[in-house]
């Protein structure tokens, strides 16, 4: 029994890597994840990752922000301490638009960003779970869970055929832990 936990195919070209994904999938080898130094369009479709719903989050947070500040201003200027400014109406909606707009944007931006951090488990101090240190530099890495998968040699050959510059058999899942 080999001690290999993960097999990594390292590519130096995104097109070769896409080719590698196709080859693996044609041979029914499940892909654990793919790590790239830049966003590569089309991988998410191949790996079956659904569209992000962060837009809905942004919209809801925006609505919340707008409602909160509008209600606050209404309470301050109309209910709690109405000021007589030349007899003009206290409920001066046009004047409420700028703060309402600003907080709509503020809540949408922050709400969405924090939802993004929460959903992708990003936070300051989180131990980076890196499988190969060059994946943030110049290598496009396909990671395959070695357990229960077809002979490792076959996977290695498939990746090499697709143009992988290097294939690693890692005994540890993450190299970034000290």
């Amino acid at each position: 029994m080999s001690s290999t936990k993960y097999i990594l195919g390292l590519f130096d070209d995104p097109d070769d890597m896409m080719h590698g994904i196709d080859k693996l999938q044609k041979n029914s080898i499940p892909i654990y994840d793919v790590y790239t130094p830049m966003p590569i369009h089309g991988i998410e479709a191949k790996l079956g990752i659904k569209d992000s719903r962060l837009g809905y989050a942004a919209f809801m947070f925006g609505c919340l922000g707008g409602t909160v500040i509008f209600s606050m201003v209404y309470y301050f200027l109309v209910h709690d301490w109405p000021i007589n400014i030349g007899g003009k109406p206290n409920f001066a909606i046009p004047d409420f638009i700028p703060p309402t707009f600003e907080w709509t944007v503020l809540f949408a931006a922050f709400g969405m960003s924090f939802t993004f951090f929460y959903a992708t488990h990003l936070f300051p101090g989180r131990a980076p779970r890196v499988m190969d240190l060059r994946a943030t530099n110049d290598r496009f890495v396909i990671a395959i869970d070695a357990k229960g998968n077809v002979p490792h040699e076959d996977i290695t050959n498939l990746l090499k055929e697709a143009g992988a510059v290097e294939v690693k058999h890692n005994d540890r899942k993450y190299v970034s832990y000290e």
Binding site: D12, P14, D15, D33, V34, Y35, T36, P37, M38, P39, I40, G42, I43, E44, I49, S52, L54, G55, A58, G62, M72, F76, L77, D80, W81, I83, I85, A92, D95, P98, P99, F101, E102, W103, V105, L106, A108, A109, F110, M112, S113, F116, F117, T120, L122, F123, P124, G125, R126, A127, P128, R129, V130, M131, L133, R134, A135, T136, N137, D138
Partner: protein
């Protein structure tokens, strides 16, 4: 991906031979991973001396009060608000580059957005310090927020543009910061994975554990796009509201409906000038000529020309409306800009912003680096004088001649202003040392399609229209980072 090639008539966004993904990382990170060079130290020394001056002048203001400035009963706003509006305006270019150009899918933004956004943040910091120091008693800043208090509670007045401004500037600053930082995450992760020891630990904390997996990238792009979508109206609203600080008053010269669009155009104008000032030096000192190319410089000059002309039209409209309104106070204010005691400020404003910018119509000027740099400084100066003219020249002679007065800055006024420039450059130079000044991940996206080497390969393959190739080669002549002799035999 590379299933289709970019048209050859588009100029390359990354020049140089043998630019690989690793080379991009090396080039961009070299100032971060190595000891700074002499130019950096000289710049940093000068800038931090300026920042010290700022600390001293602002402390002096807080100790002795606003009376240490040259303000008087008639001219109650002068260098402070001039500086504030100047810095806020400068900040606008960063958001414009990162948000508006992203929405328009302008790929040339990729190599300049990072430093432009950093510039935005530092400029807004400078602007915010002006507002707080103008309070004289900085702890009073708390009362601009709608917090419950022992006076009733007496709330802030949401009918006032000054309160809108508090909301606009604080929202703008924090949203810009989030936008900038999320964009930085992948690049901080790159530094982390190349570093060791303490550096690695620090960058590890800052990287939030970024790995570059498919799902994070996909979410990252969604977040960037939506942030760009909300930041675009935000940036327009911010300077609109800044202009309303003036436009909602009854002061001749301020009380005009043209102010919001006029201020927004002016802000973009001055902001791009500042980006140009910074990047032309940065690319030279840090050796980034391959990433910030002549195409970027010329594109920015074109934006400066367009927005400068918009500002020019706004100036003419102001004059016409002053004449057409028949209001004698309004008419006098505009005449006073040329025949009053501050005529020289008016000349600086109109000369620098309109006349000098029109030189940009000539391609030779747009593509000359020294002239572009000089003109960007001229625009920075002109835009400072614009705010000075609007504020001081309008205030010093308004309705009642008996209260007319002159404004003379004291050394504290001058020091706060020069100091704020020092503060800005200190922050910017520190940024260049610790964070990548170019968004590496985004530039890597351009390599396969928009780089000079990719286009050269296409030409070498020889299936392209001859006239288009000629056109392309001609466009490369102005590039200082391209050896045109490489193309002679092609």
């Amino acid at each position: 991906m590379a299933s289709h090639n970019e048209s050859i008539i588009r100029e390359p966004l990354v020049t140089g031979k043998d630019i690989t993904y690793a080379k991009v990382t090396e080039d961009v990170l070299s100032p971060v991973e190595n000891k700074p060079n002499k130019a950096w130290w000289i710049g940093f020394t000068v800038a931090s001396l300026g920042a010290c001056l700022w600390v001293f002048a602002v402390s002096y203001t807080f100790w002795y009060g606003i009376g240490s400035w040259g303000l008087n009963k008639t001219v109650g706003w002068a260098w402070d608000i001039t500086g504030f509006v100047w810095w806020v305006g400068i900040g606008h270019a960063g958001t414009l580059i990162s948000a508006v150009l992203l929405l328009f899918r302008q790929k040339w933004r990729n190599s300049i957005n990072r430093s432009a956004e950093a510039m935005t943040i530092f400029a807004v910091i400078c602007a915010a310090t002006y507002v707080v120091s103008h309070m004289g008693r900085p702890w009073m800043a708390l009362y601009t927020l709608p917090l419950p208090n022992q006076y009733g509670s007496l709330w802030v007045n949401f009918n006032s543009p000054l309160i809108w401004d508090v909301f606009a500037i604080s929202t703008y600053f924090s949203v810009s910061l989030v936008f900038w930082y999320i964009g930085l995450l992948p690049d901080i992760a790159t530094i982390r994975d190349r570093a060791s020891g303490l550096r690695r630990r620090i960058y590890s904390i800052c990287s939030f554990g970024w790995t570059g997996s498919v799902k994070t990238w996909q979410r990252f792009e969604t977040v960037s796009l939506i942030l760009a979508g909300v930041a675009t109206p935000l940036v327009l609203s911010v300077h609109t509201i800044v202009s309303m600080d003036f436009a909602t008053s009854l002061e001749p010269g301020w009380h005009t409906t043209i102010f919001p669009p006029y201020f927004v155009a002016g802000a973009i104008f001055s902001g791009f000038a500042m980006v140009q000032t910074l990047l032309l030096v940065t690319r030279k000192v840090l050796g980034l000529e391959n990433y910030i190319t002549m195409f970027h410089i010329e594109s920015m000059n074109k934006i400066i020309l367009v927005t400068g002309s918009v500002v020019g039209v706004a100036y003419l409209t102001e004059f016409f409306i002053a004449y057409y309104s028949g209001g004698e106070y309004e008419q006098y204010t505009f005449l006073n800009r040329f025949i009053g005691p501050y005529w020289w400020a008016g000349c600086m404003m109109y000369g620098c912003n309109i006349l000098m910018t029109q030189l940009m119509w000539f391609k030779r000027i747009r593509t000359s680096i020294p002239i572009s740099w000089a003109l960007s400084i001229v625009v920075n100066i002109g835009m400072w004088f614009e705010r000075f003219v609007i504020i001081v020249t309008s205030l010093h002679r308004d309705f009642i001649p008996s209260s007319w007065a002159m404004f003379y800055p004291t050394w504290v006024d001058v020091s706060v202003f020069i100091g704020s420039i020092g503060l800005f450059f200190t922050l910017f130079l520190l940024f260049l040392r610790v964070l990548p000044s170019i968004a590496m991940a985004e530039v890597k996206l351009l390599l396969k399609s928009s780089s000079e080497q990719a286009k050269k390969k296409l030409i070498d393959e020889g299936h392209l229209d001859k006239s288009q190739v000629e056109y392309y080669k001609e466009s490369l002549i102005n590039y200082d980072s391209v050896k045109i002799s490489d193309y002679e035999k092609v």
